[in-house]
Amino acid sequence: MSKEQFDYFVNGDQGKYEVIIGLEVHAQVLSNSKLFSGSATKFGAEPNTQVSLIDSAFPGMLPVINEECVKQAVRTGLGLNAKINNYSVFDRKNYFYADLPQGYQISQYKNPIVGEGKVLLDMPYGSKEVGIERLHLEQDAGKSIHDMDPTSTYVDLNRSGIALMEIVSKPDLRSPEEVNAYIKKLRSIMRYLGTCDGNMQEGSLRADVNVSVRKVGDKKFGTRCEIKNVNSIKFMQMAIEYEAKRQVELIESGKSIDQETRLFDTKKNETRSMRSKEDAHDYRYFPDPDLLPLKLEQKLIDDLKKSLPELPDQKKERFIKEYSLTPYEANVLVSEKEISDYYEEVAKLSDKKLAATWMLGDFFAMLNDKGLNITQSPVSAKNLAELVQSIKSGEISGRIAKEVFEIMVQSGDNPKKIIESKGMKQQSDPKELEKMINEILTKNKDKVDQYRSGKDKLFGFFVGQVMKVSGGKANPQLVNEILKKLLKG
C-alpha cells in the first residue's frame, strides 16, 4: 500500500511553515454526582435545580472528594497509557466571576492525578504518536446567561462543581486533520472506558487550542497563542487554519507574535485577542486546605487496570488477527464503541469478513444517507447477520442481497422472511439449473456454435440469459460451472 505524504504546511512568501498544535481538552467526567458534592449532573435540567450549598459556596461549606470521579480519572489515565500518580494535590485557582461561587476553582496544579501518556493516531501517512503531558481533575464553573434580559446577567449553577478532566497534550499535533483524529481518538477511548460521554453539543468535551508556527526545518518553537473554549472539531480546525495564517502573515511582515489568549468567532471565522500576557490573571494557586492530598493505593490502581475494558487499539489488533480484517476495516469498526459492539454481534452470528465488508459498504452508506448513528439503525445486528449468512450459504446472491437489505431498512423485517415471502431465494438446485440452461442453449443454437468455434466472449451472453430467465435468482457460481460444462459439449 502506498502511503500518502504528510503535506499540511502554510506557504508564506519566504517559505513553508509548519503548524505546531497542542490541545487542552476538558472532558466532563461521567458520574452521577459532582466532584465535591452530592448534586446531580444531568444535562438540560431546569436552571439552578442541581445545586447544593457546597456548589453555591455557602459559608462553612466544605468539599468532599467524590471517589467515583477519582476512579474515572484513573481509568482514563490508564486508557491513555499514562503514569498514575499515587500522590496528587488539589489546589485553589483564585479569580472572581459571577458564575464562580467560591471565588476559586478547585483544580490540580503542581501534582496532577495522571502524568505522561500517549495516544496513537491512524493517519493516511501512517501511525502517529501524540504525547499526553498530564491529566488533572477540576471543577467546572457555572454558566452566565447574558441574553435573557437586556440589563441583567443570569447565573445557572447546575454546572458549578461538575467534575472535569483536563487532558493536556504535548505540542505534537501538526495539522487540523491530526487534531480531528486526536479528538476522535480521545473521545473513542473515553467512551470505551465509560468515563466521558464525549458529547460536544452538550459541552461534555471542549478544548483550548494552542497554536504556533515555525519555518520548516527550524528547531525552536514559535510564540504560541491559546484559543479558548472551542466546542466542535470543525471550529477547532477553522480556528487553527485562521490562526496559523495570521501568525505567518505577522512573521513575514516583520512583526512579532504576542503570547496571548484569543477567542474564535464562529460567525466571522476568525480569532481575536481576549487578553494579553500582561493582562493574564494571577490565579494565586495554593493547595486547598479543605482537602487532604489524594493518596491512591497501588492496589486500587491495579484493580482498576484489571477491570479495564478492551480499548480501540487492542480491539483493532484482535479484529485483524482473529477476523482477518484489513487494518482499514478494523480501524473503522473500532472507531466507536457502539460500532464495534454492533459489528461483533453481527460477526458472532455470521461470516466475520463478509460482515465487515457489508458494514463498511451498504450498511454505513445507508446510515449516512439517513443521517443516523449506529444505535438508531433500522436494521438490527441479528438481522444483518442473517442477511450475511444468506449470502454466504448461497441462498441469495450479493445482488439480491442489496434488494433484501433495502426492504429490511424500510420494514425492519427479518431477511429470511423477506426472501421467503418475495420468492427471492437463489436457485441452487444443479439439476433444475441444468434443465433451464439446456433449454436456453437449445434456443440459441447459433450462438452455441459460435462460442464453440472460439468466440469466448459469448459466455457473458449465456450468463445474462440465465439470469434473465431465472429473474436474477440463479446461483451465479453454479451457473458458471454448469454453463462451462455444457458448452464444452
Binding site: F58, Q102, Y104, L292
Partner: protein, 485 residues
Amino acid sequence: MSDITTQNLKDIVDQVKSKKISSVELTQSYIKNIEKGKKLNAFVTTTFEQALTSAKQFDTKPNFEQLLPGIPLAVKDLFCTVNTKTTAGSNILNNFVPTYESTVTKNLWDNGAFLLGKLNCDEFAMGSSNETSFFGNVINPVGDQLVPGGSSGGSSSALAADFTPATIGTDTGGSIRQPASFTGTVGLKPTYGLCSRWGIVAFASSLDQAGPMTKTVSDCAIMLEAMAGFDEKDSTSIKKNKEHYSKNLKDNVKGLKIGIPKEYRVDNMPKEIDELWEKGKKILKDLGAQLIDISLPHTKYALPTYYIVAPAEASSNLARYDGVRYGYRSKKGKDLIEMYENTRSEGFGDEVKRRILIGTYVLSSGYYDAYYLKAQKVRQLIKKDFDDNFTKVDAILTPSTPSSAFKIGEKTNDPVSMYLNDIFTVPVNLAGLPAISVPAGLDKKGYPLGLQLIGKTLDEQKILNIAYAFEKNCGYKNNIKKWWV
C-alpha cells in the same frame, strides 16, 4: 436558693438531673442576666423565645441520660445555626440566615442543649480584642474599660458574666485560649480535626478549630465530649472512636513529665507572667510531676509564619463574599467588577481588608515561593520541634498570653502589637496540637492570667487531667463584681 447561674456547668447539670431546677427556670435565669447585661455587648442575636420553647419541651419529656440535659447555651456567631442569623461579626453577613446547622452545634443539641443566642466576635474571627466586630466592642466583665480578648470575645465575656453556663469558640491562632486567659475562664483548642469544621464560617482552614470555653476543667471535659467527633462532611476530620473525657477525668499527675520551653520567656514580658509560670511549675512539681527544660527553637518564627499562612487562606476563603448569592450587596456600581468592589469595600472592616491584602500579596506570582512556600516549610519545622520534644515529655507548660487584658482602644492603631498577643498560642495551631488555658492567678491590677498546657496530637485527656489537678491546687478565684447590673 443561691443564683444558679453563678455555678459551673457540671453542678447545673446535676441539679437539672435531680430535678432541683427545671430547664425553663434555668433558661429564665440566664435570660434575666443577659437582659441586665446588655452593656457588655456580648450578644449579636438572642433566641430567647426559641430557647424557652426548647426548655419547655425538655421539661415535658426530659432525657437525663444526655451530657447536656436541658442546658441553654450561647455560641460564638461563627457557627452557622439553622434559621438563626449568623454574622461572623461582619456587615457582609449582617442579613445571612443559614438553612443548615454546623456539625459542632448540632452535636451539642443532640446532647440535650439548645441555643440561647449568638455571641459577638471579631469580624471573621480576625482579632485579639473583639474590637474588629461590625457589632461593636465587647466589654470584659473584669473591668468596664477592658477588652475580653478575641476573637471569641463575646464567648469569654458572656461566660464570665454568667450569661451562659458554658460556650464554644473557635481558635485559629489563640482565639479561645487568649480570651479565656483574659476573663479567668478555661478554654481548650482541640487537636486539628477533632471537631468538625463543617458549618463554621471559615477563617483559615488549616488552622481553624472549634473548642469549649467553660468555668472549670471538668465542664470543659463535658463540653468537649459533646462537641467532638468524626464528620464525613469535613475531609480533615479525624476518624476515631468517641472519648469519654468527663468520665475519665483524673487529677493524678504523679510521674508525668512536663516540658518547660525556654523560648517562651520573651522580652518585655511582665514580671507577673514569669512569676505565674513559676507558680504553675511549683504546683505541678509538688503534685509529683517532673519538670524538664526543653527547647522549641523555631518558636520565634511562629508569629510571622502564622501571619502569612492565615491571611493567605483567608484571602481565598473570603472570596465567596461577593454579594452575588447571599449577604450584603452594595447598591452602587455600574458593572460586575464595581459591584464586587463596592460590596466588599462596604461589607468588610479594616482588619479583614488588611488580611485579605496580605494574603493576596503572599500568594501572588513571584512572591509565593518567598512567603507562602517558605512559611509552609517553617511550619513543618515548628511542628517537628513539638514532635521531637513529645518523645521526652507528656505535656508542655507555658503562659497563655504575654499580658493580661488591655484597655479598649489601646492597641487598635498598632496591628503588630495586637498580633504579638498571640505569640504563645499561635505555634500550637501551626502544629495542629491540643492546648488548654487554665486560670492561674491575678496580676497586681486584679486582672486574670492563664497558663497553657500543650499536649501531643489527640492527647486531650492528658492535658485535661493535668489542668484538672492544677485547677484543684491553684486556688484561683475571680473577682468579677457584676458592676454592669
